[in-house]
């Protein structure tokens, strides 16, 4: 299948499972922020679940189909139009050559995932097709889509007995989290401010992390002694020196020196992809299973 970009949208990138094997040299894990949506969209077109997808951000691209095939959308609810007619985007969309596919900005959620039938002919770097921006550097520039670019897949990526993936049921209002390694550096008052209280996402928030409208107090010993840098992961809730809780996402750096007070549950990490600046959510504390 071939799709030509007429417009790129706000930021449309190729994303897959990322580069978890390179965190020891400081390369962020990266990949689709909402990996459940990536897998679901791929299942709808019959692709292997880790096939790359397009990650759409708030404003989707306009695409012309140059050679027929199926696409499917998951994640935030971007209404899809084919030749300007609304189509049911809860299932795979069959496109014929010449069809134009466009999207309306979602009313809820932030990032959409467009699976395209077939094996993707795209450049990879360190085993992944995912775009990665560090500061002003695009480390895989071809994974950031621009007007006039052409995305091409070849048949063969489709697997004969595709996995059936149930539609994810995101909950962006309640994010579940466990105690992080430095949970005990939160003062009791800070715990009360952070857990099961409405929090807002504030700017700047991006694929590196979500900032929150918090001013939390940490124990005096935290201020006396700088923490030795240690590993962080997507979903880690760090508290900066000025008391702001930041939830790290897939493009965050690999080690950090701020107290890691909470770690979001694996299933909640995908939901974080759908929060935009101004959205409210709360954190629910889970206990580790005793063993």
């Amino acid at each position: 299948m071939r799709l030509r970009f007429v417009t790129s949208g706000l930021r449309t990138t190729t994303q897959d499972a990322g580069r978890p094997e390179y965190t020891h040299i400081g390369v962020p894990i990266g990949g689709a922020l909402d990996k459940a949506a990536m897998r679901y969209a791929n299942s709808l077109v019959g692709n292997a679940l880790q096939t790359p997808v397009l990650e759409l951000t708030m404003t989707g691209p306009r695409l012309i189909c140059e050679s027929a095939g199926k696409v499917a959308l998951a994640g935030a609810q971007f209404a899809a139009r084919v030749n300007n007619q609304l189509v049911d985007s809860r299932q795979a969309i069959a496109l014929a050559a010449g069809d134009e596919l466009s999207f309306e900005s979602p009313t809820t959620g932030y990032r959409g995932y467009l699976a395209v039938e077939g094996a993707w002919k795209v450049k990879t770097w360190l085993g992944s097709a995912s775009a990665l921006r560090i500061g002003s550097h695009e480390l895989l520039a071809s994974a950031v889509w621009q007007a006039k670019d052409v995305l091409e897949t070849r048949s063969g990526g489709v697997i004969p007995w595709p996995a059936i993936v149930l539609s994810p049921t995101p909950s962006t209002t309640m994010i579940r989290a466990y105690r992080g390694p430095e949970y005990d550096r939160l003062e009791p008052a800070a715990i009360a401010q952070l857990i099961e209280r409405p929090l807002s996402v504030v700017a700047p928030s991006n694929r590196i992390g979500l900032r929150t409208n918090t001013a939390l107090s940490l124990t005096p010993s935290t201020h006396a002694k700088e923490m030795v840098s240690s590993g962080v992961q997507p979903g880690t809730v760090q508290v900066t020196h000025d008391g702001q809780a930041i939830i790290l996402l897939a493009d965050a750096q690999t080690i950090g020196g701020y107290p890691r007070v909470l770690q979001c549950a694996n299933r909640s990490i995908d939901d974080l992809a759908q929060l935009r600046v101004g959205d409210q959510f709360s954190l629910k504390l889970l206990d580790y299973p005793s063993n």
């Binding site: 978890p20 094997e21 390179y22 965190t23 020891h24 040299i25 400081g26 390369v27 962020p28 894990i29 770097w125 360190l126 560090i134 500061g135 002003s136 550097h137 480390l139 895989l140 989290a177 466990y178 992080g180 390694p181 030795v228 840098s229 240690s230 590993g231 962080v232 992961q233 979903g235 880690t236 750096q253 690999t254 080690i255 890691r260 770690q263 979001c264 549950a265 694996n266 580790y288 063993n291």
Partner: protein
Amino acid sequence: MTVIIRPYGDTAVLVEFTSDDGATPSAMALHRALRSEDPQGIVSTTPSYDSILVTFDNAKTSYSIVHATLVALLERAHPESTASERLWSIPACFDPSFALDCEPLQRELTMSWDSLVETFCRSEYRVSVIGFLPGFPYLKGLADTLRCRRMKTPRTCVPASSVAIAGDQAGIYPLDSPGGWRILGRVPIPLFNPERQMPALLAPNDRVSFLPIALAEFNELGRQWDHGDLDIKAWIS
């Protein structure tokens, strides 16, 4: 040495080492053991100074299995097994045009530029961790007389390949990036090259010393690098 293993969320384990001698070798030994044994379901391993973060896929393994695997590996992974270290002698140019903090450093450390550079190049450094940016080496071994404060307001852009110091550490910026470390000079080649199969030049536990070179030689080495004529293996002994 004491080791603490504990959960860090529902798909990760944090292993922390307490020892008297800066425990990176233990974290690296465990990292290497995990890489070579490749236990089922391990997704990533991130060694740092005195800890290692291990993430796993909970559809393929579980906390208790990973915990048991780590305990078994720790018993076998001796710090000596990290002996594959390389010794680098990396040319670096300390010309004032690269040394953005030439003046403030002389003032803060009350030292002439020549003796500052000489002191810096006399030490041998060890890469304790790669992080902050892809390929950024945190170097231990800075002389006490060169300890300095970070900038109050970080620069918005430190040029790639800048050699920098802050606190009791040294480092080399792999990419143009914001940064608050004090800039001493520059190395003639990129520390991080996405085109290479292993893009980071340095690895944890590598030993590094700096060989001061003049601006003309710096430019010549840069030219050779651009033409693919520079054999950096000659910098390793």
